[in-house]
């Protein structure tokens, strides 16, 4: 029985190792992990295109430039995300998040965290409104303008979505070549659908102008502003939206005036935008969902701390978070352990400041008892002054 069990388990282990080995060797046929992911992503994209366009039957060649840029965009994103996931801190958060997602007894907390974060943090962006209504409106317009444009453009480009004319007055939306909603060609909903890019473009335009105005007027912002990082993306977005809107103006009101030229310019700006996206400030968009991990892993209740400081007892964090922080620090060879075996992360920020100051002042706590009373006069109190006249100078006997 025992032997059998052992044999079973051994074989089991071997199989696991086998698969692992297989993955490893498979990985080795690529230049790096990242390039492997990039390859699969490309394959996946082509596959979805193949489905969406009915075996490449409905490819719109007018959009070829977009298509190529989109591939660059996706590969760039993957490279960046992979590079980012390699960081110990990121890895730890993702690891803990996945563990928690899997664990059944946390499912209620998981769902709650995801829903609340998605609504408050990502959809409503409440925290930016807290920084100022102006900033909130500005960011919300840019964010959802961009995301909306993205969704629609990518859908069209990769053929995930297209419109089918059912009869003279009815269009049907096809998602992955599956018929979805049908609508009246001259109806209100259809009007929105035709103009969806114009609407999102207008949102972005307003938001970007607000952002530029803010950057022009606020001197305090200029302190840490870097033109290529903070301002360039705004100009790129501006270029994309302005040229895009001009296209509409051109064929709707100017009878197609220099339409092909405009289309080309627009295409160029979008290509620039897509290539820039993974490498600049806008990259914060795809990593934002990580914020779900914060309530999911660290805060059972929003903004409520549960772990007590080892010294003063103030609540300052949660056990899960501190163990994660310790693990991250440990992996990067940060030695923040004290004499008594506790770690600096076990103390609240205020106690950590005090520990620092007291060791500098030679006012460490009573030897052997880190929780003993604070000594403020220990005989080796160094005055922070340049020179001290020795008391002998004033010694009475010298008179």
């Amino acid at each position: 029985m025992n032997n059998l069990e052992r044999a079973y388990s051994t074989s089991n282990v071997e199989t696991v190792e086998d698969t692992k080995f297989n993955i490893k060797s498979f990985e080795k046929s690529f230049y790096s992990k990242t390039s492997m992911y990039a390859f699969f992503a490309t394959i996946f994209l082509v596959f979805t295109m193949w489905i969406g366009t009915g075996q490449f039957a409905k490819i719109d060649l007018m959009l070829a430039g977009y298509m190529i840029a989109s591939f660059v965009f996706v590969i760039g994103l993957i490279v960046r995300v992979a590079a980012w996931l390699v960081r110990p801190a990121t890895k730890q958060l993702v690891k803990t998040s996945i563990q928690n997602l899997k664990s059944g007894n946390r499912s209620k907390r998981n769902v709650k965290s995801i829903v609340i974060t998605l609504i408050e943090n990502i959809f409503l962006q409440k925290f930016i409104f807290k920084r100022g209504i102006y900033r909130g409106i500005q960011h919300w317009l840019i964010a959802w303008g961009c995301i909306g444009s993205f969704a629609f453009t990518f859908g069209l480009v990769f053929g995930w979505v297209h419109f089918r004319l059912i009869d003279a007055t009815t269009y049907q939306i096809m998602v992955f070549n599956i018929p979805m909603i049908s609508m009246h060609a001259n109806g209100f909903f259809a009007a929105i659908m035709y103009n969806i890019l114009n609407i999102t473009a207008l949102m972005v335009l307003v938001g970007v102008i607000m952002a530029l105005v803010r950057r022009l007027h606020n001197n305090d912002l200029k302190v840490t502003e870097r033109a290529e990082f903070d301002v360039l993306p705004l100009y790129i977005l501006l270029a994309v939206t302005v040229t895009g809107l001009f296209l509409t103006v051109s064929y709707k009101f100017l009878g197609g005036f220099i339409h092909p030229e405009l289309a080309l310019i627009h295409q160029i700006t979008v290509v620039l935008f897509l290539i820039y996206f993974p490498f600049g400030k806008l990259f914060h968009l795809p990593i934002r969902p990580l914020a779900i991990g914060v309530p999911m892993n660290y805060q059972e209740e929003h903004m409520v701390d549960t772990r007590s400081c080892k010294k003063c007892g103030t609540k300052y964090s949660s056990d899960d978070q501190i163990s994660d922080v310790k693990a991250i620090l440990h992996e990067q060879q940060f030695d923040l352990q004290l004499e008594d075996g506790s770690y600096l992360a076990d103390y609240c920020p205020s106690c950590r400041r005090r520990i620092r100051a007291m060791s500098q002042l030679n006012l460490g706590s009573v030897k052997g008892n880190p929780y003993g009373p604070v000594q403020t006069n220990n005989g080796i109190h160094i005055p922070g002054f340049g020179r001290k006249r020795s008391d002998e100078f004033y010694n009475k006997e010298e008179k």
Binding site: N219, P383, F385, R387, R389, F393, Y394, K396, K399
Partner: protein, 707 residues
């Protein structure tokens, strides 16, 4: 608006669209140099920038200084005249307000005589304004009742210095020399909280090896780092100083040559201090014999030393005596009039030095002239263009004015730049006096506790909306620059005084169009007096980073170090003090077993009218508290944060408890910056010093109860 911007060649952060205007802080006597940042487009004050090139403070500022600019465009500023109707203040025009003042002032004067009016000034104003207060009262209103809040601040030091040295200049040496001294003897001065930027000079000296002796019932920040902390009982300073003198004489530390040549009364002093043996001193002061011996030895052996003191020793009914004995310590060691040594008091108010020299005082005229001296009256009357006979006689001191109100002699009062409803002792008596007044005018830019009693409030300006000069605690005359135009309908104090004088038919004596005209007249008025400003001009101040008075002519370099050759007494010799022991007016008794002392915290200034309206400062210190030793607290079963009820023979109040071992175990300390029921001055003792008329705010007996 102003021509002078930040000095060339000094590294400062110049922001786009902003102008830096060089001026000084509005608060204490340190008068820290600062630049005010003004937005050129909106004309609003937006911030502060250090003034690294100002030699006295080198860009340093305390939290009050850093946030001082926030009071200028503050939302609670009074911007129009207010008239009280049925107990409510109603906005009014200047004409309405002045009409009402004219009517009441004239009526009261015709009914009760000229002296029915009174003026209560302050010294957080420029020299020009302080000078004008005296002239406004005596010429504009024609009353003899004029005095100022310096009675609660500087007057003991003034009296003591006049008595011993002949002239009262707060510091006999420029403070930039302090770093070269060998020993500080500091008494009753919580330097770190009251004048934080002075600390740099103390610390610099310590970097060079200077010793520091601090006498204070509390272990203040400087006492903590002192070589000897003399933890004396409040109100025993003259005993401590006599004890020090005893050891200095006993151990032969006296500079005999200096004393023989330059001092009177040496033999009497020797005779008097004989009884003040270390043991006797220790018994009176509560300081151990060992500490007294050590302090005296260090002080006696230091080649250069500075004796410094402040309100702790001055706000006592023997404040003048305390100043005299401490000054005698410096005299016996032959320190006054030499490099990096001397004696210094510390002015608490911005222009405490300048403001007390120029005739705001009941018995004084510009340039430290005396109203009792017919020659002095003749000279000043000449400058003012009145007949000497028209000059009113001397009035009474600030606190005694409230007695005059109670007696029905004073029927109306004009309070300027002051908040006696908080800063005077025994405030309930003061409040009652205000209520008894027939008519009361207050000029202020915030609704102070005093202003609430007024019938008419006139909107004054902050320091940043007017120009002028002040005299800092060294005796250095410096310039305050106009940063921006007054907000709303507010007017500067000199414009207000001028307007009222015009209504009283004395307009011809106040023909000023601008501040420099007042300055010119004031220079002339001080000419030939002890505090002679005649040689000081605005240009010289700019060029020379301030000029020290006395400066009798334009080619005179000013006087950074006082008394180099002789003292200003009649025979040119300093008068050593012969002060017998006298107890404080109130000593602990069975009913009131402990001692209450008051003071400042670093976050607030005087009565707090300005600082209590600044967000940062209020976050740091929103309420007064009672500081006491855990040993005392345990006798009443008190722990940190408990409520405590303090009772003195005058009144009682409830406060939070803060425990610390850094205070004597028989003392309670309460900061005084709050008004109404939070004002500790409800409890303090108004016993007056016979010379300076300074109340004994620093010592009284108190009863503790758990509330």
């Amino acid at each position: 608006m102003t021509q002078f911007l930040a000095k060339e060649g000094v590294k400062n952060l110049h922001r786009e669209g902003e102008k830096l205007i060089t001026t000084h802080c509005c608060y204490c006597g340190m008068q820290c140099g600062m630049h005010i940042r003004l937005n050129e487009k909106t004309g609003k004050v937006v911030g502060v920038e250090p003034r690294y090139d100002w030699p006295v403070t080198l860009g340093k500022m305390c939290p009050k200084g850093v946030t001082a600019y926030q009071t200028v465009d503050h939302e609670e500023r009074i911007t129009t005249p207010l008239i009280k109707k049925n107990g409510q203040f109603v906005k009014a025009s200047w004409d309405e307000a002045l009409d009402l003042i004219e009517k009441n002032f004239k009526e009261l004067q015709s009914k009760h005589g000229k002296d029915a009016l009174s003026v209560y000034g302050g010294v957080s104003m420029t020299n020009e304004k302080c000078y004008l207060v005296g002239k406004y009262a005596r010429v504009g209103l024609g009353t003899r009742f004029v005095d100022y809040n310096g009675r609660f601040c500087m007057s003991s030091a003034a009296g003591g210095f006049m008595k011993t040295l002949g002239t009262d200049r707060g510091s006999t040496l420029p403070w930039t020399e302090l770093e070269h001294t060998d020993c500080f003897f500091i008494s009753g001065w919580n330097a770190a909280e009251c004048l934080p930027t002075s600390i740099q000079w103390l610390w610099k000296a310590r970097d060079k090896g200077a010793k520091m002796i601090v006498a204070d019932p509390r272990e203040t920040q400087i006492a903590r780092l002192a070589d000897v902390h003399l933890d004396l009982k409040s109100g025993t300073d003259s005993a401590l100083a006599n004890g020090m003198l005893h050891i200095i004489i006993r151990d032969g530390y006296v500079d005999e040559e200096y004393v023989n040549e330059r001092c009177n009364n040496y033999d009497e002093l020797k005779e008097l201090v004989k009884t003040f043996t270390p043991e006797y001193t220790s018994q009176l002061t509560g300081v151990s014999v060992e500490k007294i011996e050590k302090a005296a030895t260090i002080y006696g052996k230091s080649p250069r030393s500075v004796v410094m003191f402040c309100r702790g020793i001055e706000q006592q009914r023997k404040g003048v005596d305390n100043v005299c004995t401490y000054t005698s310590m410096a005299l016996l060691r032959g320190q006054i009039g030499k490099f990096a040594s001397g004696v210094s008091t510390v002015t608490g108010q911005g222009n405490g030095q300048g403001g007390r020299e120029h005739g705001q005082k009941a018995d004084a005229l510009p340039g430290y002239r005396k109203i009792a001296d017919p020659e002095h009256v003749k000279y000043v009357a000449g400058v003012w263009g009145i007949q000497p006979e028209e000059m009113p006689k001397a009035g009474v001191s600030a606190f005694e004015m409230f007695d005059e109100i109670q007696n029905g002699n004073i029927r109306a009062m004009h309070v300027m730049c002051s908040n006696p409803a908080v800063s005077a002792p025994n405030t309930e008596y003061v409040w009652d006096s205000f209520r008894k007044l027939d008519f009361m005018v207050v000029s202020d830019f915030f609704m102070s506790e005093t202003a609430e009693f007024a019938d008419v409030i006139l909107p004054a300006t902050t320091w940043a909306e007017d120009e002028g000069t002040t005299t800092n605690l060294e005796g250095r005359v410096i310039r305050i620059r106009k940063v921006k135009d007054p907000i709303g309908e507010s007017k500067t104090d000199w414009e207000i005084m001028k307007a009222i004088a015009e209504r009283m038919g004395k307009g011809s004596f106040f023909p000023y169009e601008n501040v420099p005209q007042i300055w010119e007249e004031f220079r002339l008025a001080s000419k030939g007096g002890k505090a002679d400003y005649y040689g000081i001009t605005y240009d010289r101040i700019d060029k020379e980073d301030g000029v020290f008075w006395p400066c009798p002519s334009e080619d005179h370099p000013g006087t950074p170090t006082m008394f180099k050759e002789k003292f200003d007494t009649p025979n040119g010799k300093a008068n050593l003090a012969t002060v017998a022991w006298q107890e404080p007016a109130e000593v602990p008794s069975a009913n009131y077993p402990h001692t209450l002392t008051t003071g400042r915290v670093v976050f607030h200034y005087l009565s707090g009218t300005q600082t209590r309206r600044v967000k940062f400062l209020m976050e740091q210190c929103p309420l007064p508290y009672a500081e006491l030793h855990p040993e005392l607290a345990s006798q009443y079963n008190l722990v940190n944060g408990d409520k405590i009820k303090l009772t003195t023979p005058r009144s009682s109040m409830v406060l939070d408890v803060r425990l610390t071992k850094a205070i004597r175990n028989d003392h309670v300390f309460v900061p005084y910056h709050w008004g109404k029921e939070l004002s500790v001055n409800q409890l303090t003792n108004p016993a007056l010093d016979p010379t300076s008329r300074m109340p004994e705010i620093k010592v009284c007996a108190v009863k503790i109860e758990k509330a």
